[in-house]
């Protein structure tokens, strides 16, 4: 029988595992840890003073500062009593409080917009349902800075909202630099996520369980409450938790829509960074990470307790959107659907349409190509310190290709390693998914301070170019999406397929090449498109690493233009939209099956 393959073939998986771990340490764990070390080091000695400063500063912790900054326990209690006596009037939240507050509001709105979408997608049949269902992954490939530009174009003084209000004799209103704009923009991002997760849960509700409840005497509402809702709840909690974590660390949207009045922790980290105040930035980043990880941990505990196995389910039949017979009830539900559709169009299509319109109109509303012309002129006549469009496009594409080259193999290897059953798999899973929980700014900061500025290891000075660091940061934030796309397919593969191949003489590596990868190929391609799109749209770490260098990308260029004029920013945003749309088409073409298999995020 078979000789069993060469040494390389036998050990390739181990080699890949070691290489991937090494890369992760080099590109993620080491840089991020330098940030945290920085936070507790003042003048070369260990010190928690940066934390103490932040946690007792009213600017950051608001009201709590009167307690945390009291100096002694009795003074703290006195302060508390004083505040209580005043009835906690006019409380100040501080930056941390505001960050949590806006995240909570954003989560509420996202759930409010996401759940009706889940209801419509899960319970009605209509043309384009599958397309809309797959469009719910759009936020993950839309560059956040571009969405921010879209919202500026919607809510600004000359924005589409004011123009529309003007047409009916209302307004003007200014939502820009208000909490409303931030919260709506966050809902734009996260409501589809909640809709997506909840729809998947709804579709996996066994119709026979509902029928059983009905036959035992439950009314339709009662059956929904007793059978359907308990199965939706974990999905909603998951979506809400993820939304809170995402919006808690939100950066480009708050930066662009919040102005200087409204700023989250992440924005302050960035500001401290641009002021070269690294210790305070690092301390803030640590506090942010602890809060995010705490939430994530609480959620994972909850998820573990909720886990159930669902097999061989019969899904509920969907209702036709246009009913065969009209009754008061069918009319009411259809009016609800229509009303929701209008809201959804405003929230989801509005900003993108506004951006396109703004890129093609002057401030008085007439058609113009001048914004695109500005980009052309800047390209031909711009000074070297000015941001030119072509280098931005070129850099974005080069970084995206580089990201793909690293993130794709890394993501696939992690998938293979985390779907096999062995001891410590959960730990491996958590380590591999850690980049999802750490903000891009921290990764960027770590790479900047750790690798770009150079480190000394055993007498060797190691420094990497800024562009390499950007690719590294992009790869770190992109590969979890490859893994998330590939893992469901691999996990659902029948293990007897692999065992059959093994017993027929294939080594472990050969089964990966011959059996597993071909069968999850759509997931691999979708993951690749995700990685590409994530890199194209990445803003947080790029802006940290691109500061003061010529390595700017399209999102960075948009932010630079946005600081001065909206027109060119929208024009650049449209170019970014086209590039991103192309990646999305690839996801749509190849990734459809991966979604059917219930691909994670």
């Amino acid at each position: 029988m078979s000789a069993g393959g060469s040494w390389v073939e036998k050990h390739l998986l181990t080699v890949c595992a070691i290489a991937t771990t090494g890369l992760l340490v080099l590109l993620f764990f080491y840089p991020v840890s330098t940030v945290f070390v920085e936070a507790v080091r003042v003048d070369g000695a260990f010190s928690l003073s940066a934390f103490v400063e932040i946690l007792t500063d009213e600017f950051y912790v608001g009201e709590l500062a009167s307690i945390t900054g009291a100096g002694s326990l009795t003074a703290a209690i006195d302060a508390l009593i004083q505040r209580a006596a005043a009835g906690f009037a006019d409380p100040r939240m501080g930056v941390i409080g505001f960050t949590a507050y806006q995240a909570a509001l954003s989560t509420l709105l996202s759930v409010a917009i996401g759940l009706p979408a889940a209801w419509i997608l899960a319970r009605f049949e209509f043309r384009g349902r599958k397309t809309i269902r797959s469009l719910t992954i759009l936020p993950f490939v839309l560059p956040s800075i571009m969405v921010a530009v879209g919202f500026v174009a919607t809510f600004g003084a000359n924005g589409t909202l004011n123009r529309a209000l003007g047409l009916v004799g209302l307004g003007p209103t200014n939502l820009l630099f208000t909490l409303h704009a931030i919260v709506i923009a966050h809902a734009f991002y996260n409501a589809p996520l909640i809709a997506r997760i909840t729809t998947a849960a709804w579709e996996s509700v066994d119709a026979r369980a509902i029928e059983t409840a009905r036959s035992l005497g439950a009314s339709p509402w009662r059956a929904f409450y007793d059978v359907v809702f308990p199965q939706l709840k974990p999905a909603i909690v998951m979506g809400a938790t993820l939304t809170f974590i995402f919006t808690f660390a939100s950066f480009p949207i708050v930066l662009a829509l919040g102005g200087y009045q409204l700023a989250t922790i992440e924005v302050f980290i960035y500001r401290q960074l641009t002021n070269l105040n690294y210790t305070e930035a690092a301390a803030l980043a640590t506090i942010e990470l602890v809060i995010s990880l705490g939430l994530l941990y609480a959620y994972l505990r909850y998820e573990d307790a909720q886990r159930t196995l669902r097999r061989g389910i019969h899904t509920q039949p969907r209702r036709q959107l246009i009913p065969t017979a009209w009754s008061l009830k069918t009319v009411f539900t259809r009016i609800s659907v229509a009303g929701y559709t209008v809201v959804a169009l405003l929230v989801f299509v509005g900003p993108i349409a506004s951006m396109i319109i703004a890129s093609l109109t002057t401030s008085d509303g007439s058609f113009t190509l001048s914004h695109y012309q500005f980009l052309l002129e800047r390209q031909t006549a711009g000074a070297s310190f000015q941001v030119r469009p072509l280098p931005a496009i070129r850099n974005s594409l080069i970084f995206a290709v580089g990201t793909l080259a690293i993130a794709l193999p890394m993501g696939v290897v992690v998938s293979i390693l985390t779907t096999r059953q062995y001891r410590g798999r959960k730990v491996m899973d958590a380590i591999a998914m850690a980049p999802l929980a750490v903000s891009g700014i921290i990764v960027g900061l770590g790479l900047l301070r750790g690798l770009v500025f150079g480190v000394e290891i055993a007498g060797w000075r190691i420094a990497v170019a800024g562009s390499l660091a950007i690719v590294a940061a992009h790869a770190v934030s992109a590969y979890p999406f490859v893994t998330r796309n590939v893992t469901p397919g691999l996990a659902s593969l029948d293990r007897t397929l692999i065992e059959s191949a093994r017993s027929l003489g294939a080594t472990r590596v050969r089964t990966v090449i011959d059996i597993e990868l071909p069968l999850v190929w759509t997931g691999v391609v979708a993951g690749a498109a995700f990685a590409f799109a994530i890199s194209i749209g990445e803003f947080n770490s790029t802006i940290v690493l691109a500061t003061g260098s010529g390595e700017y990308t399209m999102p960075v260029a948009i932010e630079r233009y946005l600081g001065r004029r909206l027109g060119p920013a929208t024009a650049m945003g449209c170019i970014l939209l086209v590039v991103t749309a192309l990646s999305f088409v690839i996801i749509e073409r190849f990734g459809g099956d991966a979604e059917q298999r219930g691909g994670g995020l």
Binding site: E499, R502, G505, A506, L519
Partner: protein, 366 residues
């Protein structure tokens, strides 16, 4: 089934015996396989049968090398297999769910194992695939997608794929559980024919005792991770060594009583205040006062329609008659104990049941 001798390239030099030497497999606290020892001889059709959770599939997976035993040793032809990966064991495996590669045609599935080894007998890969398709009665089906085939056809492709590289050992894990009854019987005959034609050592796993009896040279009855009995189907059926085997293999009636008197070849036993006479084979030596458990197959219980002077008369009442076509299975109670017997037609009311002493088989004595 064609008689296709050309497929068998057995050069007579290879022979495969399997030895499991007190192997155990534990998952944390649970023991799936508990010190199983058995030998399978060359060319033998050996079946592991037992209820779900008895460890039969785990044992098969240990032989295949998909999992490694916690303790004990597995030897092929005396060669220790511990640490040898599945691809180097030379086993063909057929699973219950067929496990055909969905992205390959039938022919590519069958040829897959030939990527790693040359076809036996020096034929080309194409010829090897053709002859295997003929062997499993699917000529000309090579270009089909596996999913276009019926369950029975898919399972025959899986069998062909497992046999293609000329393995020394064939492992079948409940290959027919997903098929309907009629197909199952056809495929059973076909598998047995192919196996004896090729003379390939085969280990077969099933929960179906009827399947186990009909197809095997020898059967191991497993329960709770351990071996209850290993013997030919006839011995397993007629001379079960444990109450579990007596009950699991076919219908049975078990009685436990106290030995009152022993004579040459027979014994007088008191069961529930009733004296019966049972045959005692040379294997057992009874003494007065022993607790003895014996069994009588339902077909050995005779219903007496008239007054009889026969020994071993049990007066029982009918609970239920199940008409099965060929026979009727009658459930009775006798002294709070359930009895089963077979008749041609349903019964009702009180009946007198007798059995010949030599039809009682002693299971355990203590």
């Amino acid at each position: 089934m064609r008689n296709n001798a050309v497929v068998d390239y057995d050069d007579g030099g290879t022979m495969t015996t399997i030895e499991l030497d007190t192997i155990s497999k534990r998952y944390g606290e649970t023991t799936a396989v508990d010190e199983i020892s058995l030998q399978v001889s060359d060319g033998e059709f050996f079946t592991l049968v037992g209820p779900s959770g008895c460890g039969k599939t785990t044992t098969l997976r240990l032989i295949a090398g998909f999992e490694s035993q916690t303790s004990g040793a597995i030897r092929f032809d005396g060669r220790e297999m511990t640490g040898v990966p599945p691809e180097e064991r030379g086993v063909g495996v057929v699973f219950q769910n067929y496990a055909l590669f969905p992205h390959m045609t039938v022919a590519k599935n069958i040829a897959y194992g030939l990527r790693f080894t040359d076809p036996p007998g020096g034929v080309s890969v194409g010829d090897r695939v053709t002859e295997l398709l003929e062997l499993v009665d699917l000529p000309g089906m090579g270009d089909r997608d596996p999913e276009a085939l019926s369950g029975g056809q898919q399972q025959r492709v899986a069998l062909a794929r497992a046999l293609a590289p000329g393995p020394d050992l064939l492992l079948l894990d409940e290959p027919m559980s997903a098929l309907d009854a009629q197909l199952r019987e056809q495929l059973r005959v076909q598998i047995k024919q192919i196996q004896s034609e090729l003379g390939i050592t085969t280990v077969y796993v099933t929960h179906d005792q009827e399947e186990a009896l009909s197809i095997s040279d020898r059967v191991a009855v497993l329960n709770g991770g351990g071996v209850e009995q290993i013997a030919t189907p006839q011995t397993i059926y007629r001379e079960p060594q444990t109450p579990f085997v007596a009950n699991f293999i076919g219908d049975n009636n078990l009685f436990t009583g106290t030995v009152e008197q022993v004579a040459a070849g027979t014994a007088r036993v008191s069961v529930a205040q009733t004296v019966v006479h049972i045959g005692v084979s040379a294997d057992h030596s009874l003494t007065t006062g022993d607790r003895v458990t014996f069994c009588i197959r339902p077909e050995q219980l005779q219903v007496q329609t008239q007054e009889t002077t026969a020994t071993n008369q049990l007066v029982a009442s009918v609970v239920e008659s199940e008409f099965l076509g060929e026979t009727t299975r009658v459930h009775l109670t006798w002294k709070k104990q359930e009895l089963r017997l077979r008749t041609t037609d349903p019964l009702a009311g009180e009946v007198t049941v007798t059995f010949a002493p030599e039809h009682a088989h002693i299971v355990t004595v203590n």
